[in-house]
């Protein structure tokens, strides 16, 4: 059960970062109606923080027993890849339209 939980860490982290960054975007658009330089910086910072959040987890995750497949780690890499890939739009097209 614990192992299965560990497997879900990576994708769940992606989900959380995803909701956070898009939520922030909605908030900025709601408040100011446009994403100015400050808003963009905030978005990129949130994105960067989200990516950075993976690093300690990657380090802290105990290594899998030898010869067995390390699915929790694979899950982390999946989450990290998805975070980088699905959120990079904030850096290029963060308009409110």
């Amino acid at each position: 059960m614990k192992w299965l939980g560990a497997v879900l860490i990576g994708p769940s982290l992606w989900f959380a970062v995803f909701l956070g960054v898009y939520g922030l975007h909605g908030l900025i658009c709601g408040q100011w109606g446009a994403v100015d330089t400050g808003g963009r910086a905030a978005l990129i910072a949130a994105w960067g923080l989200g990516i950075a959040a993976f690093l300690p987890v990657l380090r802290l995750l105990p290594a899998a027993p030898e010869h067995s497949i390390d699915l929790p780690r694979a899950g982390l890499w999946i989450g990290l890849g998805a975070t980088v890939f699905t959120l990079f739009p904030v850096t290029i097209t963060s308009s409110c339209g």
Partner: protein
């Protein structure tokens, strides 16, 4: 099974030790064992036996057979469509009937064929593959089957009487709202499909629990057959994918029945909400259908190529990624409105990303074929048919994903063609392969050579003839869902050709069915383990007996050729040999390492599932007839039957530990810490929580995004409702506290407190504003109803526990229904507090 070296060589000694060294039981004579087990596990005789059957073997086969019948019906409807389109004025169906027919074709194929088929496959195959004797909740399997059958029959009857749904398989509002669809057509869809979905959620709960808790001892998660991984992904997606659709259907049905405005823009609703809720389900749906098909491919390809699967770990990671990323596609709907640019960019990113895990699997299969020695048995034909068709479907999918092209091909026959390449390529071909592959296990018979191959070629030619040409008609601009095209003579020849090939296709399917029927009736006896497979599903006599294994396989039996372990298992050398206590016993193991935990006793044959689903059916029919007061009354027998159902789980007989293997004594489930039932309740609460979240999503969406008219000011002041809020919250929190105490008195206190909470809910209900006036009030009414229902159930559960004390069924070692009652109370309290907070926040903000 996999390219993981066989157990014992790899695993670290500590986790292994417990399971590897389970001693073998002494060998017995196989025949008496078989007789005894048959006596305990067999269905009752004759037709009555079919009614009371709860066995996964019987019900899994019946699920699949019924799904195949619906496939045939859907196929006949598609023939009518193609006959109509063969000529430009298609004289024989009028527009209304044509709309009903394509809607029913799509709905039948998706809800009554594809999903039940994969459920049936999972139910039939998983226990055999995991090394157990049945699914976790046999009565629930049966209930699911009857709900599916009744829901399907309701929809078919409506078609016969010409009142079938006609708004397309995704039922967009406002087309499907009361104003535009006044008849009962739309209600048939909403109620029928929701009815069928009860069975889908039931199956998802069961499949999850069975995979996590019933694997053979020592079969760790990372060593289970890939099909189980695929089904785990599928059932997880069903648990969170179906509730939004159920929520949407219930809201739409309430709007149609009681005029509560959820989708009506004039009163603060939004037709977009339906689309969101539908696609919250619709995106994962594609993968829900695809994953099990990919699962059977991953089992068959290595065996048919005489090798092991390439990249087991990569495939599991791909499944994990697919499940989550398809929910990424799911989430983008929350952002599509208001920020289309962002949403579009994100959508493309996520779509591209989903292609990666799909490609990983396809490459793993190709690599497996490459390194092995493919043998051209019949299942392999269909596997090759899958590759050809699915890859082409993927290519046209990429074309559709390109935005300008999509704009051109949008809603043309091109989309229909793409859809069928993906669905028939990605689902029907793999299922046909699977059926031919597992037929010997289902029937014990060998197939008759030649016919199957002929059927395959006819299907392949017919399919590509029909649908390849539809790409072209689409490119020439022919829209989908039209019944005549008198002004477009240039489409005539293509359409006619396509229709002719579709008849070839039908003949192919008929030949395929004939082949299976001939095999089942006239085939010669097949020998055991005909494919030389390394998985447990073949390590049993064929056709498989209801109990699957005379003794349960353990770590020693894993990863070996099925042929080598049939005899030791049949002689009772595994765990829990025979049925010496005359009960249906299975082994429950731990989630991660599959160490033996306790022995569960499964219920025997009973007609209760049929009776309960009939009671639900009465409710649905009364709703359809718009007899709402009577429908409310019809819930009473449903509730009573559920009580009877749960009573059926009460402890009876000896509760002494069972010697599962020499020297290994395991408690029975009444004394276990986490039973299958509790795991099941948790899985159900995941689905239930998603339903609740969908309602909250609706509330957020309608109050934040939708521009509609503001709600009229409340006539009820905060001071008037706050006492009821306080009473409700206090009663529930106190009830939760009382339950920590675990005495008879606590059960009674819990009942009383929940009843007080129910009173508070009623008090709130009478203060609610007219729910037909505005969406805000309608949503509040729905949430009140949701909470009321949960509090009512909580009261019922604590009363049940109190009743168990009265009967003396609970003792310090036997917790009875306490843990489940507690879990439910926690959930109820949580959703209530969340709802109260949301409503208060809404009152403060607006």
């Amino acid at each position: 099974m996999t390219d993981i070296p066989s157990p014992g060589q790899t695993a670290p000694a500590d986790t292994r030790a417990a399971t590897v060294h389970i001693p073998a039981s002494p060998a017995q004579r196989a025949l008496p064992l078989h007789r005894l087990l048959s006596q305990v596990w067999a269905n009752d005789d004759g037709l009555w036996g079919q009614i009371t059957a709860v066995s996964h073997t019987t019900l899994g086969l019946r699920f699949m057979a019924t799904a195949f019948v619906f496939f045939a019906i859907g196929g006949i409807l598609s023939m009518l469509i193609r006959a109509q389109l063969a000529t430009p004025d298609g004289a024989f169906l009028d527009t209304e009937l044509y709309n009903q027919i394509f809607t029913m074709h799509g709905s039948i194929m998706m809800f009554l064929f594809a999903i039940p088929m994969l459920e049936g496959l999972g139910i039939w195959l998983l226990p055999k593959m995991l090394g157990t004797r049945d699914m976790a909740f046999p009565r629930l399997t049966a209930l699911g089957y009857w709900c599916y059958l009744f829901g399907g029959l309701i929809m078919l009857t409506a078609l016969l009487f010409g009142v079938a749904p006609h708004d397309g398989w995704f039922m967009y509002t406002p087309l499907s709202s009361a104003e535009f669809s006044p008849g009962i057509n739309a209600d048939v869809w909403l109620l029928g499909v929701t009815f069928v979905e009860i069975s889908a959620v039931a199956a998802a709960v069961e499949i999850t629990v069975t995979i996590l808790r019933q694997r053979a001892p020592g079969m760790r998660l990372m060593e289970m057959p890939l099909f189980a991984w695929y089904m785990l992904g599928t059932s997880a997606m069903m648990l969170v994918g179906f509730p939004p659709l159920i929520a949407g259907s219930v809201l739409l049905e309430i709007e149609r029945a009681f005029d509560w405005p959820f989708f009506d823009p004039a009163r603060g609703g939004d037709p977009l909400l339906w689309q969101h809720l539908f696609w919250l389900f619709g995106h994962p749906e594609v993968y829900i259908i695809f994953l099990p098909a990919a699962g059977v491919m991953s089992m068959m390809i290595p065996v048919l190529c005489r090798t092991t699967i390439l990249g087991y770990g990569a495939i599991v990671a791909a499944i994990l990624a697919l499940v989550f990323l398809s929910f990424g596609l799911w989430v983008h709907h929350m952002f599509t409105v208001g920020i289309p640019h962002m949403a579009l960019a994100f959508f493309s990113a996520a779509s591209v990303l989903v292609a990666v895990p799909t490609a990983v699997q396809v490459f793993a299969w190709i690599g497996t074929m490459w390194k092995g020695h493919p043998q051209l048995h019949l299942p392999m034909y269909h596997i090759l048919g899958f590759f050809l068709t699915f890859v082409m479907g993927g290519l046209t999918g990429v074309m559709l994903a390109i935005v300008p092209f999509n704009w051109q091909a949008h809603d043309t026959a091109f989309v229909t063609a793409h859809l069928h390449y993906v669905l028939i390529g990605g689902f029907v071909f793999p299922m046909m392969a699977a059926a031919t592959y597992w037929m010997p296990l289902m029937t014990g018979k060998r197939r008759i050579k030649g016919l199957g191959e002929a059927a395959f070629w006819v299907i392949l030619i017919g399919f590509h003839g029909t649908f390849f040409i539809m790409h072209l008609t689409g490119l020439m601009g022919m829209p989908r869902r039209i019944d005549v095209y008198p002004d477009n003579p240039e489409w005539i020849w293509l359409n006619l050709t396509s229709s002719i090939f579709s008849f070839v296709l039908t003949i192919g399917f008929a030949l395929y069915a004939l082949d299976l029927i001939l095999q089942a009736t006239l085939g010669k006896r097949e020998s055991r383990d005909p494919w030389g497979a390394p998985t447990l599903d073949w390590a049993m006599p064929i056709p498989s007996p209801n109990y699957n294994f005379a003794s349960l396989p353990t770590a020693r039996h894993l990863g070996r050729d099925a042929g080598d372990i049939i005899v030791p298992l049949a002689r009772g050398e595994g765990m829990l040999p025979g049925a010496p206590r005359g009960r249906r016993e299975i082994l429950v193991t731990s989630v991660g390492d599959a160490t033996p935990d306790h022995v569960a006793m499964l219920p025997g044959n009973t007609a209760l599932p049929l009776v309960l689903s009939s009671a639900i059916c009465v409710f649905v029919l009364l709703m359809l007839a718009s007899l709402y007061a009577l429908a409310g009354l019809a819930l009473l027998p449903v509730a009573a039957l559920i009580w009877v159902w749960v009573r059926g789980m009460a402890p009876q007989g000896a509760m002494t530990p069972v010697e599962a293997a020499p020297g290994l004594h395991l408690p029975i489930h009444h004394r276990a810490t986490t039973t299958l039932g509790q795991s099941g309740l948790m899985a159900f609460l995941v689905a239930n929580g998603t339903l609740f979240s969908s309602l909250l999503f609706g509330l957020a969406f309608l109050s934040v995004v939708t521009p509609g008219p503001a709600a009229p000011p409340s006539a009820v002041s905060a001071a008037q409702v706050l006492p009821a809020f306080a009473l409700l919250a206090a009663a529930l929190v106190l009830a939760l506290g009382a339950m920590g105490w675990r005495r008879a008195g606590a059960a009674w206190a819990g009942t009383a407190l929940n009843l007080a909470a129910l009173g508070a809910v009623l008090w709130l209900a009478v203060q609610l504003e007219n729910p037909t006036a505005h969406t805000r009030d309608a949503l509040r009414a729905v949430l009140t109803g949701y909470i009321g229902l949960h509090v009512l159930v909580a009261a019922g559960m604590s009363a049940f526990v109190a009743d168990q004390y009265r009967r003396g069924e609970i003792s310090p070692e036997v917790p009875g229904a306490w843990p489940s009652c507690n879990l439910w109370q926690r959930y109820t309290t949580a959703v209530t507090l969340i709802t109260l907070a949301v409503v208060i926040a809404q009152g403060v903000i607006t």
